[in-house]
Each structure stands twice: as structure tokens, then as C-alpha cells.
Symmetry: C2
Subunit: 208 residues, 2 copies
């Protein structure tokens, strides 16, 4: 298909597609003349995935490109890069948070990458929640780890059911990024529900 | 305390504190001379909360200010503003996603704000996950809603145990923003654990 049809199929303006081509998020089409190229269904799929990561997953263009590149290297690399793209450690962790982290991981029986961005971010969070609101997440919010464990078991079982390697890789990426956003949105809706029960006479200001 | 001590206590550079004062995230101190002011423990608490929202919660300065302002209006306003600060609807929802959303909310028995940013974002996510990876979150990932419901019940029970109104409000805000980040980090660690079981011979590339 031509650029105009790629734009129609993907629902994206031509300018956006050209930007992604320049930035390397989309591989070039097959050149058919000095200023025309032909694109395939693969380009449409890639554009949809790119928009999912950026628009609703909240990834930067640079992070999305890193994830798309890592997908060439297999599911584990894709998963790790998607995780790295989602969190930014700030180096707030201290001795206390490292001990709480160790206790958590041991309690859960998790074998994890202690130097990963996710693990660093978690230790940042522990010390920040304590300093900002006196919360000891590991002790007081232990239900979270159990539910996260159950959700992750669900995710890996779901990935195991995907039909081929390509589907497994894009499933791992979309599941990681959009799955996180999905859980977050569900948690907020459930908060609305239970807040209404707790404060029945209050009303939420309308969303902007 | 003077600015220098506020900086020491909060662990923030003076320039950052002055920026927050200018931007209205921190109320002014009590003026003691034309170019000196005195700050209180309340300022330290406020700075810690601000950094928690921005650094590990991922909120923009503008969103953090909106949340801090809403905290003056009570727990429901604080909760709603924290939710709005965390998601940005993109208007991708369509008839299909509205129907899936209705089915989800009905199945869960949730009474929610259908026009809230969280609900709009969820409908955006449903259509995006379908287009990018053929996932029907509501049908195929129904476990998520159950776990989100349980987590939200935990959160409201935890809030109910907080000793006073001020604590309830900052608890609602920190719980909403940092709790989301905490669940996300836990889910990623659990993914690492179960991925190692599924692909025992693969190794993650080191984090940057």
C-alpha cells in the first residue's frame, strides 16, 4: 500500500508516520520510485503497537524505540526493555529500604534481578512512602505483593497460550505496558466505588 | 527554621525549594525580615510529599500542584484530583469499548464515575489493546478486575484506620499515586520470577 493508505489503515496522520520513519520506529517501505514507497500489513501492525506504547502506555518516543528494537532479540529482552522503559530509578534507596526489599523478595520466594530498574524503583518507593506518609509498604501493604504475584502468574499463563514467537513477543510487550495501565485504571475505578461507600454524601468534581 | 535548615531536613537543594515557592507548591514561610523567612515542620512534610508525587509518582509539577491544592478540599477532592493527575485520556474509545466497559462495571457491581479520566482512560486502553495485540482485556484478563477490586478494598480499609482527617487526605493521595507505582513495581518483579521459570536458560540484559 501507499503512504495515503497506510495513514488511513493506521488512523495516523502522514506527518506522524514520516516522523516515525525518520526516528527509526518504523522500518522503511519498499522503494518503488525515487519518491514513492510501498508499505505492508506489517507496517500497519507496527504503527498500532507504537501508538499503544506511546499514547496509552505513556512511553517516550525514545523508550518506545528501545522496546521495538529489543523485540528483535526475543521475549526476555523485550520484557526487560519494556520494564526498563516504564520506570526511572532516582537513587533514593537506603539501607532500610534494601532490607525491606530483601524481606519482601524472600517472603514471596521470588527469584528476581536485584539490579534491574524495577527492583531499584521499588526500593526508591519504599523509602519515599515512608518519608512522605509514614507508610511501610512491605509490612502494611503486604496484600499488594500477593495480588501482584497472582496477576503475574495470570500473565505468564496467558503468554504461554499465544500461538507463535512473534505473538509471544508482542504479547509480552503489550501485556507489560498496557497491562500495567489496565490494572491501574481498574484500581482507580474500584477506588471510586469503595470511596462512594465510605463517603456516600460526597460528590466528585467533574473531570476536565 | 531557616531556608538552610529546611534544605537539610528535606534533603532538597535551596534552588529546588525556591522554585517550588515560586510555583506555589509550597506556601511561603513566615517573613522575619525583608529577605529572611522562617519555615516549619509542616513545610518539611509538604516538601517530602511533593517530591514523592513528582520523583517516584511520576507527576508533572502542574499535576502535583493541582493535587496539593485539592488536598485543602477534603479526601474525595484529593482522591479525584490524584486520579486525574495520573492518566490522560486520548479519546480513542469507540462503541465497542464502551460496551466492554459497561459489561465490566456491571460484572464487578461497581458504581463509578463514567466520565472520569480513569474511566475514559480504561475505555481508551480496551480499544488500543485490541487493535495493537488482539487482546480483549475484559474477556481474557478478567482476573485483573478481581485483583484490583481486592486491592482497592485493602486501600479503603487502610485509609479508614488513619487517625485524623489530615492523615486521611495525605494517605489517600500517597496511597493513590505511590500505591499504583508500588503495585506496578511488584508486578514487574513477579514477571521476572515467572519468566525465569518459563525461559530458564535466558538471561536478562543488565539494566542501564
Amino acid at each position: 500500500m501507499r503512504m495515503a493508505e497506510l495513514s488511513r489503515e493506521s488512523g495516523l496522520p502522514v506527518a506522524t508516520i514520516k516522523f516515525y520513519l525518520r526516528e527509526g520506529l518504523l522500518p522503511p517501505g519498499e522503494r518503488t520510485s525515487p519518491n514513492q514507497a510501498r508499505y505492508s500489513d506489517e507496517h500497519v501492525r507496527r504503527l498500532r503497537l507504537t501508538r499503544a506504547l506511546i499514547d496509552v502506555g505513556g512511553l517516550s518516543v525514545a523508550s518506545a524505540r528501545a522496546v521495538l528494537d529489543a523485540m528483535e532479540e526475543g521475549p526476555i529482552a523485550a520484557l526487560a526493555t519494556a520494564q526498563d522503559a516504564m520506570v526511572e530509578p532516582i537513587g533514593a534507596e537506603d539501607q532500610w529500604s534494601r532490607e525491606r526489599y530483601e524481606e519482601l523478595v524472600q517472603n514471596m520466594g521470588w527469584e528476581v534481578y536485584a539490579d534491574s530498574a524495577a527492583a531499584q524503583h521499588l526500593r526508591d518507593l519504599l523509602v519515599t512512602a515512608r518519608n512522605a506518609a509514614g507508610i511501610d509498604f512491605v509490612a502494611d501493604w503486604s496484600a499488594y505483593a500477593e495480588h501482584a504475584d497472582a496477576v503475574a502468574r495470570h500473565d505468564l499463563a496467558w503468554i504461554a497460550g499465544l500461538p507463535d514467537l512473534e505473538g509471544t513477543i508482542s504479547g509480552a510487550v503489550v501485556g507489560t505496558v498496557l497491562g500495567a495501565a489496565y490494572f491501574n485504571a481498574l484500581r482507580m475505578l474500584a477506588h471510586q466505588h469503595y470511596s462512594k461507600q465510605r463517603w456516600p454524601n460526597a460528590s466528585l468534581p467533574p473531570a476536565e
